[in-house]
Symmetry: C2
Subunit: 317 residues, 2 copies
């Protein structure tokens, strides 16, 4: 039984891609089961409810040598803690290739598109399998979620085509209205503790050159995508405290939390200390005021934040 | 213009896959050009002549940041020397994933099949493009070469299906006769210097855990696939001298040269020194006599030699 899972702090794409890929593999005769590596965010339960599906179970501790399939991630820092003891036999992902290696030849399918679900749709087509309604709903939701309904610069024509193809199968008549309802669910943060808000969509990235360990810095990069940034920024003090704790707990060099206004496509990033302020100033050329940096339209961590930090931390050659 | 190339010491798959993938990309609107990273072996000129094509040019020095596509390899030790300065945007490969990383999301297509060409045929089908006759001949030849006409344990049903599909397009009426002619060309080694014979199909593999540098050993693994092993083994003394030089020049821990009898599917490996003898005895449980180890039916470096050495050199956890 192949365990299929997305990254820690799962977003909608991480959860839905595990479900869809496990189902696709099963239809192709590969026994597979979807799992999750953490608690759901506020958007994913809405999506699962609309699709009429349950959330996958939390991944149990897997014995060394267990065969696994990764979706929507490949870096060990974003995966199960004993990944290096497991046997990665399949990966479907749309991120840059990090420190993954495989002991044997494997199935790897990476494409620079906006969402893993866009690749999963291609896999259905290539296998000559009709997309079933719940899978269509999951993939459509993941694409709208990852691309912020095509607002993100990660969006590609293939993501748009995938949504157009999936909407009738998913029985979503008004994609715009569905996306807004999904974003509203995601923004309904209620009394969620600040620690939880920070960790909801949070990834640790190693920067610098691993071959020169003295150049390596590990940064925690959180994003809160919301239609109600005022509410999140109103909790700035609590969030900064949570960021301070995260930096200490995870032994990080720095922590950033970007509050992304989905509808207006702007990014206000909270600045914990002089360390983060220096990096934001030098890597992005932005000023910090009241512990906030206005990063303008840089709303994609993958395409706009991480590459700038990678270039900034790259050792001079 | 995207530069497309296979590994150093190119075999038939490395050369033909660069040609076929560059042509496929061009048909899809991506400007691409095939190159090679070294001299051709004795089999590939036969294949190119049969396909009516010229060999690709030697890859010139590429400026930092140049976009490249790798075929039939992904590890830096088997690629162009300044790979870490280049931008890898596409990879099509059937080997295990090594130390490759990408700065941005990229197209990666890895499948555990017997030959890169088998994946390239799928890419044609997925793109809805008819395979042209010269490409069919190149892909068919590469599959027969990499799988030793289905004798290698790396062979999958997809490789067999690909050959059955390609043969009529390539206008190869008798696949068996064509494979034998190809292997005869490969075995016609004439007065080739021993240094050249050693390096013809030769790859350097790092074993151990890179995170524990004191465990890492670099081994050079050469293979000579031939229908005339007697001729090669008759030159044992010269070959051992060449192996001794290679170990010194490349700063390696050990060097092995496997003489594979294609038709009888056996492997006699030349043993340079007590270092190699110890490893062969402990990793494969074979005795060494007259500086030769009989590895029986272990004819695949990828599937039978490298995994055993990886397991042997893996640090105890």
């Amino acid at each position: 039984m192949l365990a299929v899972f997305g990254h820690t702090n799962p977003d909608t794409d991480a959860i839905t891609s595990a479900l869809v890929y496990a189902h696709l593999l099963a239809r192709q005769g590969v026994e597979a089961r979807a799992y999750r590596l953490g608690e759901l965010n506020f958007e994913t339960p809405f999506v699962l409810r609309e699709a009429g599906l349950e959330a996958p179970e939390l991944l149990p501790e897997l014995p060394a040598g267990t065969a696994v399939a990764l979706v929507d991630h490949n870096e060990s820092a974003q995966s199960v803690s004993n990944l290096n003891e497991l046997t990665v036999v399949r990966v479907v992902d749309h991120h840059k290739l990090g420190d993954l290696t495989t002991a044997q030849p494997a199935f790897l399918r990476f494409e620079p598109v906006g969402c893993t679900a866009t690749i999963l749709l291609k896999l259905h087509r290539e296998a000559g399998l009709a997309v079933e309604r719940p899978d269509a709903r999951l993939m459509l939701s993941a694409i709208l979620s990852d691309t912020l309904h095509f607002r993100s610069p990660t969006t590609t024509p293939e993501d748009r085509e995938a949504v157009a193809f999936l909407a009738p199968i998913a029985e979503v008549e008004d994609v715009e209205a569905y996306a807004l309802a999904m974003f509203a669910a995601k923004s309904d943060l209620g009394n969620t503790p600040a620690e939880t808000l920070l960790r909801m969509d949070y990834k640790v990235f190693p920067f610098g050159d691993p071959a020169q360990p003295q150049t390596v810095q590990n940064w925690g990069l959180g994003v809160i995508e919301t239609t109600n940034p005022g509410y999140v920024l109103g909790r700035q003090a609590e969030l900064l405290t949570a960021m301070d704790h995260a930096r200490a707990e995870d032994g990080l060099n720095g922590v950033l939390l970007s509050v992304v206004d989905i509808l207006n496509e702007t990014n206000v990033t909270l600045v914990l200390s002089a360390t983060e302020e220096k990096v934001l100033r030098e890597a992005f050329g932005v000023a910090v005021e009241d512990r906030r940096a206005h990063l303008g339209g840089r709303i994609s961590r993958k395409k706009q934040i991480v590459p700038a930090l990678e270039a900034y931390f790259a050792p001079e050659s």
